[in-house]
Every structure is written in C-alpha cells, then in structure tokens.
C-alpha cells in the first residue's frame, strides 16, 4: 500500500458542471497513485424533489445527470482501478444502480462491480412524530403538511464495506457529505472506526472537496479583487492524503481556477458554525488549530486538524410538502423608473391582499434592493440613492393552493395592460414548496445494507 492516496471530486451539487469530472479523472490516472473519486449531489431538499419524481415514475428519483456525469469517465476509472462513490442515488439508489449497470453494459463493462448502499430512507421505519424536533424552518404552521421523505445522514462505514467487497462504483442515497471522502481513505489506510485523529483528516478532506469548485475558485472569484484563471473551466479539486495524516489540496494541471490559502480558508469555514465542533456521523472535527502552508502553484497543505468522538445520534432530515410558491415579475426602465417600480410593487401587494390569495407576500425591486432586503421591503422603501434606470419588480407569495399561487403570480401579467406607463416583460411561475425538519435518532435505528454485484446481475 502506498503512503499517499488521492481523492478527487467530480460534483459539488446536483446541477454542477457536467464536464468537470473529466480532467479530474485524467489527472488521477496520470499520477498513477491509489485514488478514488466522489460525487456529492444532494442538498437538503434534493432528496424530497427526487422523491416527488419517483412518485411520477418508479424508475426515476436519482440524480438526473447521472449518466452524463459518468459516461466519459467510467471505463477509464474501471481500467485504472479508481473507484467512484456518490450519493447520486438520491431517492432511488436501486434505480441508479440499474442505470449504471445499463451504462456499463453499453460501455462494454459487463463485469463492473456496482455497490449499492441503502438504509438512509427511514420514512417507513421511524415514527418521526415521537421524536423531538432538532432544527426546523421557523414561524410556519406545518400541521397540514404531508411527509415526502425522511433520510438519515449515514456515515462512511457501509461505503467502505462496499469498497472492501470490491465495488468499482458505489451508489448511495443520503450520506453525510464528508463520508464520501472518508470511506475510500478508511478502506485504503485501514483506519479504525474510532481513530478520531485519522477520521478528522478524512472529514476535513471531504468538507474541503464536497462542494467541488468552491475550493478551487468557484464562488470565490471577484473581478479586480480575487481574480482566477479561466473561470469558464475551473478545475475540480483533488486531495492528497498521507498515511502520516498529511492533507494537501490541489487541482488538475490543465484547468482554470486556483487553489491558494484564500480559497482554502473560505471553504474550510463554509457552513461551519462552532469551528471547534463540526459534527459528522463519523467524527467531530475541530478546526480551531488548523493552519496552512503553500507548496507551489495550486498546492496548499492543511495542518493542525483535530478529531473527537462521533455523535451517538444520527441526523434525519424530513421533507414535507403542503404549500405553493407563486412568483410574478415585470420591468420598468428610463425616467421616473423608481417611482413607477415602487407604485407597481404596492399595487401587486394590494391586489393579492384584496383577493385573499396569499398567506405571506413580498415584493422586491431588483436593481434597487432584493436579495439583501426583508419581506417588508425595508431597504427599497427606504432607498434614497441615485435613481436606477432599469428595475424589475418581483412579487413572491406563499399560497395554500396551487390555484391561489397561480392567480397571485398572474397579477404581474395583468400589469401588461393595467400597470404603470411603460411596464413590460412579465414572467410568472408556480413551484411546490418543500419544507424541512431535522431530528436526531439513535444509530441502531438506522441499519444499512451494502450489496455489491457485477453489471450483468443488476436488472
């Protein structure tokens, strides 16, 4: 066994650049060291949206870009002995495994060993009503909401088990994001499940890589202040992890983007609350002693990571459906645009109120104040800066029925005739809303199952 193991990342969320995995896999193969690659495809709500897809089509409900992401790399990875792991199973890991088998067959890989990890879906096995709520969207009456999905964040052990059984690709549903990086490291170096120091390095590897380009220049570049080379071709990250628990972040040579102390710091603290206590199912990570060092172009090492015992309870995120989001937009431009925009916003809110269409409503003046504003429009109502010349007015409502949301959003459309002078460019849409709650459950209530079978046996 080598002293260095490479972990590459091919996606940071469902919706990421589909051609990103190609240079990462090429780089892993070229370097010739033991390696693995992982795809992180699940946000908080992704499983719920996938579950709704699965209701429409029993063979759907997994990452919609799965085949597109894997097709260019799967054969090369199998040939080079580089396993691929992903939570791209979403709400239907079994269907994802079958889809991978069909793809493998088409690519001439009848013996590809496909691993499937299940058990994260606890919607039928755990009575959530008997548990105390851990975290929830606030201020909402959810009594009439219907459960769509409930998934536990499972750790690295069942994924590592699949690798031990010879899996060349491992598909799972909800896992903790870092588990996808911890598992191949655990398998390669033989880390024990209570080796907190080693697992801390694994968790940091996963945390730094799990959002793909976010550690190599994505959501980082700020023209004139933080410039990066070729932002249209950001290279996704590769971690070098040593048996001595060294950790270095880099990226493929022939790509854009950047790895430096600034990108590492931003991602190390991303979505972290108490830096002494970043909880994963496998280990509690403490980054308060972390420090960095440069090792040439696009190579930064991370030192001083500490691990503590993993939590006894696993987090379960439950998603519910029940209300609708209605949105309508329209534009004004030129002289007196600000006054026309403010009047338009007030009229939209007044129309929704008169017709009793919404539980909550909000108006934004895009170009004056929107994303930083509050539901009551404190920033645009109080705006006294230079007069903007091109403003888009947006109405957003939460409604009880689809029809109410649709009717509210169409109030923007009606302004094509009823609106202020020069009002134009209406768009409207309705989206089902998914709300989440999380719960903490004992580990033994979330048994997992690992299966590894060759292509031809997945039907």
């Amino acid at each position: 066994m080598s002293d260095l193991f490479l972990v590459g990342n091919g996606a940071g969320f469902s919706g990421d650049r589909v051609d990103a995995p190609i240079p990462v896999m090429r780089s892993l193969i070229k370097r010739g060291l033991p390696a693995a690659m992982f795809f992180e495809c699940l946000g908080e709500r992704t499983v719920a949206l996938a579950q709704l897809e699965r209701r429409r089509d029993p063979e759907a409900g997994y990452e919609p870009m799965l085949e597109r992401l894997l097709e260019p790399i799967l054969a090369d990875a199998a040939r080079a002995g580089i396993p691929i792991l992903g939570n791209f199973g979403a709400a239907n890991p079994l269907a994802a495994a079958r889809a991978i088998a069909r793809l493998a067959k088409r690519l001439g890989l009848p013996e590809l060993r496909i691993g499937l990890v299940t058990g994260d879906d606890v919607s039928a096995s755990i009575d959530l009503d008997s548990l105390a709520v851990h975290e929830a969207d606030t201020g909402l009456d959810m009594s009439s909401w219907k459960l769509v999905s409930a998934n536990a964040y499972i750790g690295a052990a069942p994924l590592a088990e699949a690798l031990a059984a010879g899996a060349q690709i491992v598909v799972a549903g909800r896992t903790s994001d870092p588990a996808l990086a911890i598992a191949p490291l655990m398998h390669h170096f033989g880390w024990a499940e209570d080796d907190w120091q080693a697992l801390a390095v694994g968790a940091a590897t996963g945390h730094l890589l799990e959002c793909g380009s976010q550690v190599t220049g994505g959501v980082f570049w700020d023209p004139g202040f933080k410039d990066i080379p070729d932002p249209a071709n950001i290279g996704f990250p590769i971690a070098e992890v040593g048996r001595d628990l060294s950790l270095l972040i880099t990226k493929p040579e022939d790509t854009g983007g950047i790895v430096d102390m600034r990108t590492i710091k931003e991602q190390l603290l991303y979505e972290v609350h108490d830096p002494a206590c970043y909880i994963t199912p496998d280990v509690t990570l403490d980054i308060t002693g972390a420090h960095l060092s440069n090792h040439g172009r696009d190579r930064v090492a991370v030192h001083g990571l500490r691990g503590a015992r993993r939590p006894d309870l696993l987090k379960v995120t439950a998603c519910y459906e029940g209300s609708w989001l209605g949105e309508g937009e329209i534009s004004v431009a030129g002289p007196n645009a600000l006054a026309r925009a403010k009047a338009t916003a007030d009229v939209l809110l007044e129309r929704v109120k008169r017709r009793g269409l919404a539980r909550r409503a909000r108006a934004d003046l895009i170009g004056v104040a929107s994303v930083h504003d509050s539901d009551d429009g404190a920033l645009w109502r109080g705006y006294d800066g230079p007069a903007p010349q091109d403003i888009r007015i947006r109405l957003a409502v939460e409604a009880t029925t689809r029809d109410d949301a649709d009717q509210a959003s169409r109030e923007a459309l009606a302004l094509l005739c009823c609106g202020t002078a020069g009002t134009s460019g209406a768009r409207w849409r309705v989206t089902p809303r998914i709300l989440t709650r999380s719960f903490l459950v004992p580990r033994d209530q979330v048994p997992t199952e690992t299966r590894v079978l060759p292509t031809r046996e997945w039907n």
């Binding site: 709500r45 201020g139 202040f225 603290l269 895009i366 504003d373 509050s374 957003a396 989440t436």
Partner: protein, 115 residues
C-alpha cells in the same frame, strides 16, 4: 499622528456565506494578516448583527481563528424562514457575505498599502 482612512471591508478582506436552517455563517478573512487585529477590534458581533436587524436576525456570535487569520460570524434567524421557507430570491443567504463586506472600518493610513 496616525491618520485613519474609512475603508469598505471589501477593500481589505474577503468573505463567504453558508447556511444551515434559518442561520447563516459568514467567514471574514483579511488579505493581509497585519489587518487581523484591526478587524478583531472593529468588526464586532453587535455591528454585524445590526446589518441584519431589518430581517429579524436575533443573535450573532463571532468565533476567532487567529491561526488562520479568520473570523466566523453565525447569525440566527436571518433567513426569514430558511432556504425552504423564505420568499427571498436568495433563500440560502449566500449573497450576505457582500452585505458584510460593504461595512466600513477605520484603517490607519500606514496600514493601507494601496497600489
């Protein structure tokens, strides 16, 4: 005598926002470690909370990471319902790093190495 210059944080520091439920975390890092003490003194949790009061934020805690020359601000109840419940276009609150960076601080002229 030291002369101070009022500077937007954006000129001397960078930041990234992340969300969890109805909370946002904002990291803040000076480009030049020499500015770390300045930020520690002036960018207090109270001042950061004040930036988000209009959205109903109820609390802000600052964690200091002197080895990384970084700060982490955690702001409670700032997302008007969280990524799923919010009516805001930016339900995640990822744009809020730049609300923080618009804050101005006083920088001694001697510490400001403008090109």
């Amino acid at each position: 005598m030291t002369q101070n210059i009022e500077t937007p944080l954006h000129d001397i520091a960078h930041s990234r926002a992340g969300d969890k439920g109805n909370r946002v975390n904002l990291s803040l890092m000076p480009y030049d470690p020499a500015h770390y003490a300045l930020l520690a003194e002036q960018v207090t949790a109270e001042k950061v909370l004040a930036l988000f009061r209009h959205r109903g934020a109820t609390g802000c805690k600052r964690y200091d990471l002197p080895l990384l020359h970084a700060f982490n601000f955690v702001i409670d109840d700032v997302l008007e319902g969280g990524v799923n419940g919010s009516l805001n276009l930016d339900g995640h609150g990822k744009s809020h790093s730049f609300r923080l960076l618009a804050m101005t601080i006083e920088v001694p002229k001697a510490l400001l190495n403008r090109p």
